[in-house]
Amino acid sequence: MSTTANTMAKTIEQKQQSWLSEKLNSQTFWVFIAVVFACLFLTFATDSFATTKNLYNITRNVTFVAIIALGMTLVIITGGIDLSVGSVLCLCSMVLGVTMHAGYGIEVGIAAAIATSLIVGAFHGVLIAYIGMPSFVVTLGTLSVARSLAMVASGNTVVFEFGPDHDLLLALGGGAWFFGIANPVLYMIVLALITGFVLRWTRFGRYVYAIGGNEHAARLTGVPVRPIKVAVYMISSLSAGIAGIIQTGWLGAITTNIGAGLELQVIAAAVIGGAALAGGVGTATGAIIGAALIEVIRNSLGLLGINAFWQGCFIGGAILLAVLFDRVRNFRQNDE
């Protein structure tokens, strides 16, 4: 009787230990701790950090990078990369803006923007999965093409009048309908929950990890590798399109240079959050936390009165530190 109880206790203890060690071993967890410490530090070091207005700004600014990082994480898990997201965001914003400017309602505008993003994503997916072109090259091409198309669509002008549903669009992106939380934050939370659920609990999510782990093995065991890859690139572009729609509503105007250079921030967020560019590893939580760390760094430099020119150094340092940390951990595991 007592032996059974003993074994039980041991098993439970082991389980708890493995749960704890799993947490301690995850890059995401340590980045999360870093974000928390940075926030605590800033709360005490400055008067302006923990104000409603600043928190509102931070949380909203996180969302654009975070939402795209969710889609990017899927691509990175399969072992690919999507460099086009900044330009796709611009193109989708422009499609939305031009459509609404022409007098169509917001439903039509959003449908057109989303359709655009899905078409771009499907184009990527087919070239990568069926033709076998490297994702880096394909999306590098679209990085150029999509922004160029946005310029063509708008005549390279600023669009700031959005027809009959102008106010609705601005409220959608710039409002705060629940408890003073910026609307984009709500979208981000919903999208993160969906992504997390899909990755953890669906067969699709399992296949995404399998493709990143060993694509050949996935194919041999009957995983529909090609359709899944197409879907993953479509989701990545879709996330850029959604971010574009929200950002348009928030800014109230679209220029052809919005989202320029955004792809690197998004990839940085995903990588800081624990996604491995070699494939097979990454989580939705990681994408959000990575994006949060970048935004907190950016915000804090301003509040602490540090010259904005230093921003790149700190963000770059965070990327290197996060990945270095991961390497050190792997060395230790390999030694054992």
Binding site: W201, T202, A210
Partner: protein, 246 residues
């Protein structure tokens, strides 16, 4: 009673005759060693049985019904399982996830189905127990020894009611102790009435576990003998061509 019957099977790729007029049969609960030098046609033959290639000529019959397959998934549906040489494992996934890869258990109705983690861990645990392997379903494959990885790959064949298991070089590149583990796994499969085809270059392993040996040379079958009626020396001669045919 033959479970699989190949009659005058040939396969050519353009001008290259990879497999030439081979006939053979497999019985339930029999381990057949398939030997031959590189390029002898072993892989091509096995890939036809696994549904990767269609024979150019000849017929395959399984349990007295003609077997025509267009893709590997169909072989699985007929009860033919293959353990690939590289094992086809995803290092970033757990043992259970690898066992069920491509045929995950799911819960729920309609299009909204979720993965049945508990069910898969439980079933994988049962299979590992049956295989007398110490592999734990929740462990990541990247942390496993060569023998454990073999056990994961072999566990896949136990998900369905496999009648034939094709194993491609299962004992290449693993340690001596692990070879013994894998040979035991093969005996376990045989004892459950499964026909095992063992492709191997390693003479001692084949002689340790096989009931019968088939030797291929240049796409032709040059020997098909009970293990008791042959010897490693004779088989070596057959593989190299020193002995023409028996």
């Amino acid at each position: 009673m033959a479970i699989l019957e190949l009659t005058n099977i040939s396969k050519h790729f353009g001008a290259i005759q990879a497999v030439n007029d081979i006939s053979l049969s497999l019985a339930a609960g029999e381990v057949v060693g398939l030997m031959g030098d590189n390029g002898a046609g072993k892989s091509t033959l096995v890939k036809m049985i696994a549904g990767n290639y269609r024979p150019s000529h000849g017929t395959m019959r399984m349990e007295d019904r003609e077997l025509v397959m267009h893709k590997p998934v169909e072989a699985r549906q007929h009860g033919i399982e293959i353990v690939h040489q590289d094992l086809a494992l995803c290092n970033n996934l757990t043992a259970a996830a690898n066992v069920f890869l491509g045929r995950e258990l799911r819960l729920g109705l309609g299009p909204l189905k979720i993965l049945d983690y508990a069910g898969m861990y439980k079933r994988a645990g049962q299979i590992f127990a049956e295989l007398k392997s110490e592999t734990r379903p929740r462990d990541l494959v990247k942390q496993m020894s060569g023998g454990q990885r073999q056990a994961v790959a072999i566990a896949r064949t136990r998900l369905s009611n496999a009648k034939i298991v094709l194993m491609d070089e299962p004992t290449a590149a693993i340690s001596v102790r692990q070879v013994a583990e894998v040979l035991n796994l093969i005996r376990l499969l045989r004892d459950q009435g499964i026909a095992v085809v063992l492709i191997s270059h390693r003479m001692p392993d084949v002689f340790a576990v096989a009931d019968r040996i088939i030797v291929l040379r240049r796409g032709r079958k040059v020997a098909d003998k009970k293990i008791a009626k042959t010897s490693p020396e004779e088989v070596t001669g057959l593989i190299t061509g020193a002995i023409e045919q028996v």
